[in-house]
Amino acid sequence: MTTYHIENFANIINNSYQTNIFTIFAYVLLIFIGILAYITLVALTLIYVERKVCAAIQCRIGPNRTGWWGLLQPVADAIKLVLKEKNSPLYCDKLLHFIAPMFCLGACLSSLLIIPFSHNIQVINLNVGILYWSAVSSLGILGILIAGWSSYNKWSLLGAIRSASQMLSYELSIILSIMVIVIYAGTLDVQKIVLSQLDGWWIFKGHIVTVISFLIFFVASVAELNRTPFDLPEGESELGAGFHTEYSGIQFGFFFLAEYINVFITSAIIVTLFLGGWLPFHLYGMLSFNNAMNGIHPIIWFFLKVSLIIFIIVWIRWTLPRLRIDQLIYLEWKFLLPLGLVNIVLSAISVLYSFHF
C-alpha cells in the first residue's frame, strides 16, 4: 500500500521526459516550495489557535479586528516581523549571530520529511523514519546554544545554557519511549508503525506500558519544545526573553516559526506512534459505524487527532506555572529516565509473552 513518491514520479519522469539534472532540480525545488508554503500555513494557524484559546481560557475575546474573527492576525504578525529593523549587538559574533536561527529552522524543516499524512501522502518514507526524526530534532539545541552565546548578553547566555541542558536531558526520555513503540511494532519505518495499528491503536493495545510511555513522551516533548511548564529558557518573567533577546525582525520570526512547527511535528509524531496516525477511529465489532468512519478521508483523521494533541499542549501552557531549572533536571534524571528504562524492559517482556492485545 505504501508507494514511494520518488519512484512513482521517477517512473513518470522516465516515461514522459528525459531524466536530467534540470528536472530533478525542478522537482526538488517544487517540493521545497511546497514545504515552505505548508509550514507557513501551519504556523499561521497555530499562532491564531494559540491566541484564541489563550483568550478564551482567560475570559477575553482575543484578536478580532484584523479580518473576520481576527483570522489575518498572524499575517499581520508576519508582516510586522519582516518590516522590523534588524539590530545586532555591537560586539556580537556576527557570523554565529546570523546563522543561529537557521539551525532551528533547518531542524524542523528536515523533521517534516517523514510525517505520514496519509497512506500515500508523505514526502519520503525512509526505512529508519523514527530514528531519523530523533536525530534531526537535536539540531535545534545547537541553534539555541549558538544564539545565546553569540548575543554577547549575560541573560541570553543563561537562557541558552538552561535550554541546552534541558533539551539534552529530555531527548533521552523521548528516545526511550519511542523505543517502546518500536519494540511493539517491530519496525522503525513510520508507515509500517501506522499499519501495525490497524487492529487497534497502540495506546489501547499495549495497555499499561504504552500509556506510561505516552505520558513520558508527552511530558518530555513539552520540555523539548521549551513550552510552559518547562519554558525556563524563554522565561518571560525572569529573563526578559531568554536566548532570543537580541534578535529582532525576521530572525526572531525564524525562532518563533521553529517553535510552532515543532509543536506540529511533535503532535504528529505522538499521533503516529500512539494514536493510530491516519487510521480512522474504529469500535470493536460495530461494522456499520466502522464503515462510516472509513468513509472519511485519512488525512482528515490525521488532522483531527493532531488538533486534539495541539489543543492539549496549548491548554497546559496556559494553566501551569513553570518549573525551576533544578526541578526540571531532577524530574528527568531521577524520575522519567528510570521509569523509561523499566518501561522498556516491561515492553520487551510483554512482546515476548504476548501480554498485549
Binding site: T319, L320, P321
Partner: protein
Amino acid sequence: MAIHLRTLNEVLHSSNKKKTWGTKEYFINMGPQHPSTHGVLRFVLRLEGEVVKEIIPVLGYIHRGIEKIGESVSYRNFVHLTDRCDYLSSIINNWGVSKVVENAMQIETNERIETIRTIFAEIQRLQSHTLWWGVFAMDLGAFTPFLYGFRDREFLTSIVEDTCGSRLTMNYIQPGGVMYDIKPDFSTKIKNYIRYLRPRIDEYEQLVSNNIIIQKRTENVGILSKDDACSYGTTGPVLRASGVPLDLRKDHPYGMYGKVDFSVAVGSVGDCWDRYWVRIEEMRQSLNIIEQLIDNIPPGKHMVMKHTAKIKLPIGYHYDQVETARGILGVFVASDGKDSPYRIHLRSPNFNNLWSITKMAAGLKISDLVAIFSTLDIVMPDVDR
C-alpha cells in the same frame, strides 16, 4: 543583630575576580526595566553560575519628592499625594494622614464615618490581594491567574468608583470624614460581591495553591526567621508569615476594628508558602469583617469638619500609623503651627520589606529570587515616594 549593608562600589571591588581557577563570579543587572520587579527597581546580582551570592537593590528611579511637596501644600491637599505612594491600597494611605490630623487637632468623628472608612479599607485590602495573587502566579509562569485576579478586582473597582469617584487614586478619606456619602445600593452590591468572591477564593486554591509546581517552588524557599524579620523592621504579611502576630488592627485598634471579630493569619516558618498563605487567609478575614459591618452602618453625617475650616496642627511632633495591605504606614508630622507642615515623613512599609531580600536570597537561584520578591509584594512608588 546588626545588619551590615555595603555600598555598590564596595561590592563591585570586592568580588573574587582574581581567582584563576574554578568558576568566577559575575555581576548581572536585573535592570529598572524588567518584567518581574514590579516597577522600576534595579537589582545588582552577584552570581556564581546560577546561584545568587549577593543582591544589592538600587533605588530612586521613581522618586518624585512627595514629602518635599508636602511642605508647601496644606494638609487637606496633601492627602491626594499619598494616593500615589502605594497606589494599590490608596484609601488606606489617605486614612493615615487623616488620622494624624484628627488626633492632633482632637477632632471626634462619628461612628458612621469610622464604619465607612473600615469597610473601604478592607475593600482596598481585598483589591490589593487579588491583584497580588494574579501577579504572583504570573511571575511563577502561569499567565491565566493574572486575568482571573483582575476580573475579580474589576467588580470591586466599579463599586468603589460608584462611591468615591475614581478607580485608582481615590482621595476619599479626608481629615474630618469622607468625601462623599455612600449611595443607597452600596450594601446590596457589597453583599452580592461577598457571595461572589467566597467560592472564587476556593477556586484560587484549586488553581494555584493546590498545584504541585507552586508548592515545590515556594516551600522552604526564602526563609526569613523571626529575628531577622524584626531586625529589618518588616511589617504586614511578611512579618506575620515569619511567626510574629503583629497586626495593628488587633494591637492598637482604630476605626471599627476593635468591634468586629476576625482572626490574624500567622505563618510558622517564614518561607514563600507562608507569605502566600497568609495573604489568602487575609482575604477571607477581610470578607468576614465587611460582612459584619455592612448591615449596621449607623446614620449620621459623612463629614464632621467644614471644608472651609483651616487645619493647623499644634506645634510639635505628631505620629500615627495605619495597617495598609502591605504593612504599617506611619505618618510623622513636624508642625510649627502654620497651614502646611514643616516636615512630613511617610514611613513606608515597602521600604523595610524590600531590604529583607538581601538576607533571604543568598544561596538561592534566580528563579527563587523572582518567587521571593513576588511574595514580598513590593510597590516601588511607595519605596521611593
